[in-house]
Symmetry: D2
Subunit: 310 residues, 4 copies
Amino acid sequence: MTGLRYSTDGPDMALLTAVFTPFTETGGLALDTVQKQADDLVAWGSAAAYIGGTAGEGASLSTEERMALAERWCEVADGRLDVIVHVGHSSLVEARRLAAHAESAGAKAISAVAPYFHRPETVAALVDACAAIADAAPGLPFTYYHIPSMTGVNLRASDVLLVARDKIPTFAGVKFAHNDMVDLQRCLHLAGGQHEVFVGVAKLVLAAWQSGARAAIGSVYNFAGPLFRRLLDHAVRGELAEARAGQQLAQQVIDTAARYGGELAGFKALGALSGVDCGGCRPPLVSPGPEQLALLRAEVTELGFLDTGH
Amino acid sequence: MTGLRYSTDGPDMALLTAVFTPFTETGGLALDTVQKQADDLVAWGSAAAYIGGTAGEGASLSTEERMALAERWCEVADGRLDVIVHVGHSSLVEARRLAAHAESAGAKAISAVAPYFHRPETVAALVDACAAIADAAPGLPFTYYHIPSMTGVNLRASDVLLVARDKIPTFAGVKFAHNDMVDLQRCLHLAGGQHEVFVGVAKLVLAAWQSGARAAIGSVYNFAGPLFRRLLDHAVRGELAEARAGQQLAQQVIDTAARYGGELAGFKALGALSGVDCGGCRPPLVSPGPEQLALLRAEVTELGFLDTGH
Amino acid sequence: MTGLRYSTDGPDMALLTAVFTPFTETGGLALDTVQKQADDLVAWGSAAAYIGGTAGEGASLSTEERMALAERWCEVADGRLDVIVHVGHSSLVEARRLAAHAESAGAKAISAVAPYFHRPETVAALVDACAAIADAAPGLPFTYYHIPSMTGVNLRASDVLLVARDKIPTFAGVKFAHNDMVDLQRCLHLAGGQHEVFVGVAKLVLAAWQSGARAAIGSVYNFAGPLFRRLLDHAVRGELAEARAGQQLAQQVIDTAARYGGELAGFKALGALSGVDCGGCRPPLVSPGPEQLALLRAEVTELGFLDTGH
Amino acid sequence: MTGLRYSTDGPDMALLTAVFTPFTETGGLALDTVQKQADDLVAWGSAAAYIGGTAGEGASLSTEERMALAERWCEVADGRLDVIVHVGHSSLVEARRLAAHAESAGAKAISAVAPYFHRPETVAALVDACAAIADAAPGLPFTYYHIPSMTGVNLRASDVLLVARDKIPTFAGVKFAHNDMVDLQRCLHLAGGQHEVFVGVAKLVLAAWQSGARAAIGSVYNFAGPLFRRLLDHAVRGELAEARAGQQLAQQVIDTAARYGGELAGFKALGALSGVDCGGCRPPLVSPGPEQLALLRAEVTELGFLDTGH
């Protein structure tokens, strides 16, 4: 057991939010916005903020910016909310710096993707890379973040889990961001009650809950946390039809947003419409313009998403 | 014209070396080795050192290390050799810092891969990213480094060239590291006498020379510069059979080295055997051990590579 | 409604078997074996035999062989078992011949993959191809067989369903053989009570059942039908722990068999060990030899698969 | 030596045409057109007709149609032109039937792609499949047709050549349809004077000629044979600038045609404009309509292609 535990033996599912990074109009960090983001998460009951990951555009920030962001989040979370800092980087030197900093800043845990320029070719090489990062923050639980579409590292997450749990003293589990339900199920089976498997694909949340998953991390909770909260409550009470209707609405909202700049820029735009405005994305991502935003707003209103208090 | 010009109207081909980054046994930068590397390049006539790229494991270094390395190279080059600094990064903020630093350190030019975590999805977005980097070193020529196998960005280099030359005042050309000879030929055609197209695949050097290319950048010149020099001299004199025999030997040496850790760790190992020893690779790359090194030495000796003074 | 209906409003899941094609030692059709196969399916309650598909190596048979096989199955099924004939082919001319023949031979339904040499590039072109096939057997329900790993056609199955149901009078549904649970869920949602969605990945059967799927087609039921029958019975009775244990055992058996020649040759070998012996696979597939078969037998016995009457 | 030899020790390059299959308006075979096609090839000096391959939509024909087509070509060729019959099929049974038929019909040689539904996973399995086909036409030279984009078989052609030449008594060489110039060069090197390497990518013809290739097969020669003939004549006379200009014009024509339905439907449309009209493509390919044809004609006329007698 590693000190990072959101799943329980009960049916409830913990929702952790992979928060957007707020930018000013000129593209700098808008650290003032973090307070509002944290308050919003606390309000609807998000279990933690996962910062500087894919949705947080961590790879588009400088190391200094990533540190400033981590510090700000630890400050405003103030015990009301766990802060998990994503420290993955193409350079293990920078990743270790970020890991050590996260520990000193008061984060609850760290997490990292595989190195994504020079990529590990074997599970052993990948676990060694993770171990080097985890070792720089020896007091914090470490979660491997599996997201092959971004890293190009296609090694099975369940194979990584199998090796990492023996090699990394602080190994806490896997954040699984991939549509491959077979590998996800194998992770859940191998994890047993010992490690976390965070579902990282919002469209699979209900299916994964039915397969036994009890924790999820995603950017969709930036704007649809309450919707997922409700659909999971239905599921827990055995109201499966209502749960599926909620998941279905979520799917439609996600597909709609994705047509406005992909799952990152489109999601961030929807977040601005339905919650805290974190501005646009940094290049090379391209954010929707005002006209497109108006269309997006109309489409999700039509779906009944914005009206229902999401 | 941009001030970066290695190709001439004549038949000669310029060879620029994508230098390895030297590491100590414990994995730190071995800056003392740079002097030897530079002397070696000057000795056989390499036109320039391209530093911190794929072969230089730039993505595995911290920003501080990349700056220290650039400074050291500018120092030891001392006018005898051009220094081109690769400044590509997943974060444009860091890439711009590296670009500005390269200019102040006295580099001849900069170059960058596409952002490789959040990736540009259109040629326009990619050129915008390149423009942002180039703009941070306004006095230096900028070369786009096309290497889809590492970046996952598969936009055609010739399409990038077509747009970039109008959008980036300091645009100098393309470093083309891909087997797609059709796209390479289109780049050569579009470049005309105005921009450089650096052949980035050593196995295609002779074929690309025959197609009109007059400049190449590669890591293979760390250990096989003289071999390529000679085979191109044959080609220039119209001795095609001898040129092809040289290219063929190069192919065999490359294939052999690649079996000992891939084109990066294997090449670096061969470099240690046949030239300046730059140590192993940083994780997540895995370098061959002493036993494997002995086998590699035996294999390339058998090929006649090490005996002939390469 | 199309006359092909296995799903009910109740919780039961129908299991249809994608049967192996039996070969003699010299590689010819072993039509005598079909009787035994049909008896076995009837014995444990398989709802139908799906013949000449991927597991049936239809693409490795001649058209004449495919017809002979279809006739034999219709004969031996004799009303005890539905026969669904896969008629997909790289040539629509041959596919139409096979479709018309299936109807005249007395099959219950037809099904086809997308053309897989010259591939449709749009959903419209794919649906047109399906319509041409369906039209040759106007009295039989048509099911689109989605299996991108074999056909190279990556168009979303749910998009195909959406168009095909309006364009093909006999459209019955989709056989979904892909790990992408998100697309599968969208198919289930769109199908409503109107069309079938056959789960085609055995490892996802329980998860898909939980998502509302009520019918599956797979080759794994050639040897593990009773095991899946039991695990689904547990699920229906709300005994989720037992259901998951069964799915987990199935996973291990599948992974084990796949190590002996992939999911086709390995499965067929396991089928020979635990049920009706259909011989090896045709080239270019490579079947495990006697030594490997012994190892496979030992491994699955160790898992408790062969002992428990599976 | 195998009796299939187009390359000479001299500088000339043989051009073999991968002919289109002519269809009537209702999609049937238009065998009457074959005479005109053959006359055209003889007129400009094509060395052979390669029939029923990718451009010939062999995979979209029935086996009976493929046989009728082969017979017709052997008839009209009448010694003026070699006929090479592509007999590749997803089923080796059908491929062997086609091979035996080609021999009896009087073809000069056979050729086949790898099986493309159930695919060989190793070079050994692929060569075994080729051997089975070659064995059915023991008197005809056999050429392996490497085209990974269609077959999904990515095994290196040079590795296939290395094994096939020892295992297949009638092995004649490789038709190489892939942009990977490195593998092509290795094929040329390994082939020596013993086997043919047919360049299968028209855009690489000049580069491949410079690398030593002396034979090419392509569909582009259906409409641009004389253009390639002329550019190669320039190359042979050492007029490299003129040769490159010709290759460049070819590139533009190819890119233009490809925008009207891809390299197959677009090429066939251009063939109808500039030579023998073979009608449209069979589904699932989609041919350009009359309006698009007019645009295509305007574009290639603008390029100077149609006016110059190509």
